[in-house]
């Protein structure tokens, strides 16, 4: 609608990781067991941070740069294919 020239005014631009690499917030890491995964995509649909991508082969892949480790994906997975493993052992 309204085109604002780049770098003319101090306006916020769309940016991936506007709060930095939020993966550093994580205390436990979701790990997908691809043997158990049935490609139901519930984790992609319900990841509240939108950090799970759907690969061309329809398997989910977690973007660990930005995943905050909330555990929603592991909770919605009907086949228990996603386990939460502690980041610090």
């Amino acid at each position: 609608m309204i085109e604002v020239p780049e770098y003319s005014v101090p306006l916020a631009r769309p940016k991936l990781g506007s709060a930095g690499k939020t993966g550093f917030w994580r205390t436990s890491r979701p790990v997908i067991d691809y043997q158990k995964c049935t490609k139901c995509r519930l984790c992609v649909i319900y990841c509240v941070e939108n950090t799970i991508d759907l690969m061309p082969d329809m398997y989910p892949r977690i973007d660990y740069d930005y995943c905050k480790g909330c555990g929603v994906c592991s909770n919605v997975c009907p086949h228990e294919a996603i386990t939460m493993e502690p980041e610090v052992k």
């Binding site: 631009r13 991936l16 506007s18 319900y46 990841c47 509240v48 909770n75």
Partner: protein, 296 residues
């Protein structure tokens, strides 16, 4: 280039300042992907103001106007009229407000804009307290819930805001829950196609404020619907319709007992058995009212 950076469609970008387990990024992502790039968001002071960040970068791929808490509906009305006066076509003006800015502080402008039937979409994401400032009670906090200003549990009842908006006789009113995300998406699609004031009330669980583990966000949002505490419905031109799983909940035996929802959340842990029964009674009473609305 990753999936999220391809900005051919409006998205809400990852790596924002939302708490782990907060459903707001997902809700906004759904909203933006339905509404498209020609959208203006108006956001009053709320958690979302923090999530949208400062001038170093924003997760939103559409323009955002940060507004004062009480002014959001008035600002959106002005933006919509200004864009129309410029001759723009096919645009959406969306207010994305929390429950405090909708039910308490901004209610006057919301009611005014609804009365004028401004062509805007108002989405209230309801986390049932002033979460951004530290969990103070709002008029949409439910009965019995702990907040920092109601340490013994709230004594008053939750304001039935969707029904209040229904009484404004606007073209479209709907409730939604992030637990039933396709229902929410479908309601956004429907709202996009309607001209006039549209109102969607979206239940948005808050892990720190509701005192539950961040992994349970979707489960809590689903249970709110399954127990009948949060009925999913839409009112289109005065015609009341239950949607999604709530269609079956007119029959009491199909609803789960409210304990299932209450026991997951630390904010309800001090409830006595009598209070739980009181909440169950209130829910049953609400469904009797809904039965009368459906028949009409």
């Amino acid at each position: 280039m990753t999936e999220a950076l391809r900005l051919d469609n409006a998205r809400f970008l990852r790596g924002n300042a939302a708490c782990p387990g907060c459903p707001i990024p997902k809700e906004l992502d759904t909203l933006l992907s339905v509404m498209g790039k020609r959208t203006v968001l108006v956001v009053p002071a709320s958690c979302t103001s923090v999530i949208l960040g400062d001038t170093r970068g924003t997760p939103s791929t559409v323009p955002v106007i940060h507004s004062a808490m009480a002014a959001s509906a008035a600002i959106a009305s002005g933006v919509e009229r200004a864009l129309r006066a410029r001759g723009e076509k096919d645009f959406n003006v969306v207010v994305w407000a929390g429950d405090g800015a909708t039910g308490d502080i901004g209610f006057a402008t919301l009611s005014g804009a609804a009365e004028r039937n401004e062509n805007i979409l108002y989405v209230c994401y309801d986390n049932e307290a002033f979460m951004n400032t530290g969990i103070q009670r709002s008029s949409l906090t439910p009965y019995g819930a702990w907040t920092t200003t109601t340490p013994e549990g709230k004594r008053e009842f939750k304001k039935p805001l969707p029904l209040v908006m229904m009484q404004h006789r606007i073209p479209y009113v709907a409730t939604a829950s992030i637990g039933y995300i396709f229902d929410y998406e479908q309601k956004l699609r429907k709202a996009k196609g309607i001209k006039g004031f549209r109102y969607i009330h979206l239940l948005s669980p808050c892990p720190p404020g509701w005192r539950y583990d961040s992994s349970l966000t979707v489960e809590v949002a689903k249970l709110a619907v399954d127990t009948g505490i949060w009925p999913l419905f839409e009112v289109e031109n005065g015609e009341f319709r239950l949607t999604s799983v709530s269609k079956t909940h007119l029959d009491k035996s199909r609803r789960k007992p409210v304990e299932a929802y209450l026991k997951l959340q630390g904010r309800f842990k001090n409830l006595t058995q009598e209070q739980v029964q009181e909440i169950q009674r209130m829910v049953d009473e609400m469904w009797e009212e809904i039965k009368a609305l459906v028949k009409k």
